[in-house]
Symmetry: C2
Subunit: 336 residues, 2 copies
């Protein structure tokens, strides 16, 4: 039985959890997925993860108690006290994750949200290797953001930094200043107060899918013969962002049209963040970016016209492994 | 003659320079203004400042060589090598400020742009005392921004962080996704590529003044009898942002109308920065904020509706002394 220290990275998702075991040198010895049993109590949920990590260590011929540290990425907010909140994938309103883990595991623990973990992963082994100042943006079901500033994750005063998805984009003035208009109607601020939901609704992968389905529904025969619908098995109702991006990469004019506004929105959101932060790099990840280089190229060209601040815009290279790798990077011993 | 160590803060403006001398405890012994002789060579310019500081020290009964450190705030970008660029108030394309000062002064030197210096000042003695994470926004001729994150000024990869004034606000979608529109027309990105100038043109003090003059010009008798013009000595052409804000504070409906869009723009820019950074506070300074509490109250109410991230929005308290005080704070010995 091997007794060398082991470290684990765990990326907890709403349906699947990705786990990795590595040596102190960061070389990954094993990685595997389990189903996230979100319906169970937090204590049981984490006991199952620890059990899986220890079983895998044993299977590899290691002492199961050789695990010295575990990093976790969560689909939610991890507060300063290690309490998980805003995790809609779980029925738990909040979970005292640090406290629960402390009772079950006595090594080092690193807890963070999944986007921060992905940023750490990209900085360790991905697109942002050696970069000290970058913005990570993930475009998938929603829009996530992480700030890596001056060589570390910046979390903000309430552990909520990075919410690029809440960006509000307002109408440039079209009416003269003296025209009558109700004083309470800020552009981009509809009466229901959900101004900050519009950007994510438009620019996320879910938004792209919805826009495409709306577009196709207005075509003759529900757009069944369009390239986008073909890619979805000729079923317009099954179209999602991947089909639209694949078609756009093949220069399909309908896909290009559907994507125009989502791309414009995202580029403006990224450009505004670049003007504010002056990052050396913007790393774009998530399902939409994973679909290919085309999306990132489009964002790069648009951002250039929207801010005079120069930056490099790169596609994330670790795909859906970034979170677990970053969680692992968060507990690995620092090289001397 | 007193030999106790002295420290200086110098805020260099395009027309006036404000200087301060303080003891090691930060108690300000003297402050005075000189004319900024921008037409001279940089060497002469800084020699004059050093001469003024030493003369004032002597006048106070101190050894003129007791000055241990000088902090400077500049109306331009200070690069990592202490080189001043982007300073339109000066005819110098760039000036090797650190090198020039090093030849004339052998104490500690702190160099920064004026907005970063103002943020340091507000953190030291002003609105942000004890706050570790805040955004400073100055609204005057232009729009400036500074990021104080995790207890220090964050400068970004190229010393250009904080450019809230480059924000681009785009039209929410009003046309259906299937309507024809040229693929190159990003909302907020006019053909001339100046998308990032619009925000500052609209939301700055200069912008407010221009909007007011345009508004008045369309009224009968050029709006000479409006409250706004009355405040400018019945001269509509002399109206600037101060007159508009004063009138608005008196509930003048015309002023409220002129300010609606500048306030909406600024609130959206601030809200987007709050969503991205999750700061404990936003400090609003500059000439427009100095005009009274009304402006900041308006921004506060709007921002609340534009981001779910909570923050405190406060008016800067040091006025136009913030830059010199922050420059001074930048060289004072740290308390043990």
């Amino acid at each position: 039985m091997l007794h060398a220290p082991l470290y684990a990275g765990v990326d907890i998702g709403g349906t699947k959890t990705l786990m990795m075991l590595a040596g102190a040198d960061g070389v990954i010895l094993s990685e595997w997925r389990t189903t996230s049993d979100v319906e169970t109590e937090p204590e049981t949920f984490f006991a199952a993860i620890l059990g899986s990590l220890r079983a895998e260590a044993s299977r590899l011929g290691h002492d199961p108690n050789a695990i010295q540290g575990i990093g976790f990425g969560f689909p939610g907010v991890i507060g300063p006290q290690g309490i998980l909140t805003h995790a809609p994938a779980f029925p738990w309103r909040e979970a005292a994750v640090a406290e629960i883990l402390r009772k079950q595991f006595d090594g080092a623990i690193y807890l963070d949200n999944d986007v921060n973990a992905a940023a750490l992963g990209e900085q360790w082994q991905g697109a942002a290797r050696g970069i000290q100042d970058f913005l990570m943006v993930t475009v998938g079901t929603g829009i996530g953001g992480a700030l890596f500033l001056d060589g570390r994750i910046y979390r903000g005063a309430g552990a909520a930094a990075g919410e690029l998805g809440y960006s509000v984009l307002a109408a440039p003035v079209t009416q003269p200043a003296h025209s009558a208009s109700p004083a309470s109607s800020a552009p981009g601020a509809p009466a229901d107060g959900n101004a900050f939901g519009q950007f994510e609704d438009m620019a996320s992968g879910s938004g792209i899918g919805r826009l495409a389905r709306e577009y196709l529904a207005q075509l003759p025969n529900q757009g069944r013969t369009s390239r986008i619908a073909q890619l979805a098995g000729n079923d317009p109702a099954a179209v999602d962002a991947r089909h639209v991006l694949t078609a756009a990469g093949q220069d399909d004019p309908e896909a290009l049209q559907v994507l125009q506004q989502p791309l414009d929105y995202m580029a403006i959101g990224v450009a505004n963040a670049v003007s504010l932060l002056n990052p050396a790099m913007v790393v774009i990840g998530g399902g939409v970016a994973d679909s290919g280089e085309w999306y990132v190229t489009q964002i790069r060209e648009r951002v250039k016209k929207l801010t005079p601040i120069e930056t490099k815009i790169a596609r994330a290279t670790l795909g859906n492994r970034a979170g677990a790798m970053g969680a692992l990077a968060g507990v690995l011993p620092r090289p001397e």
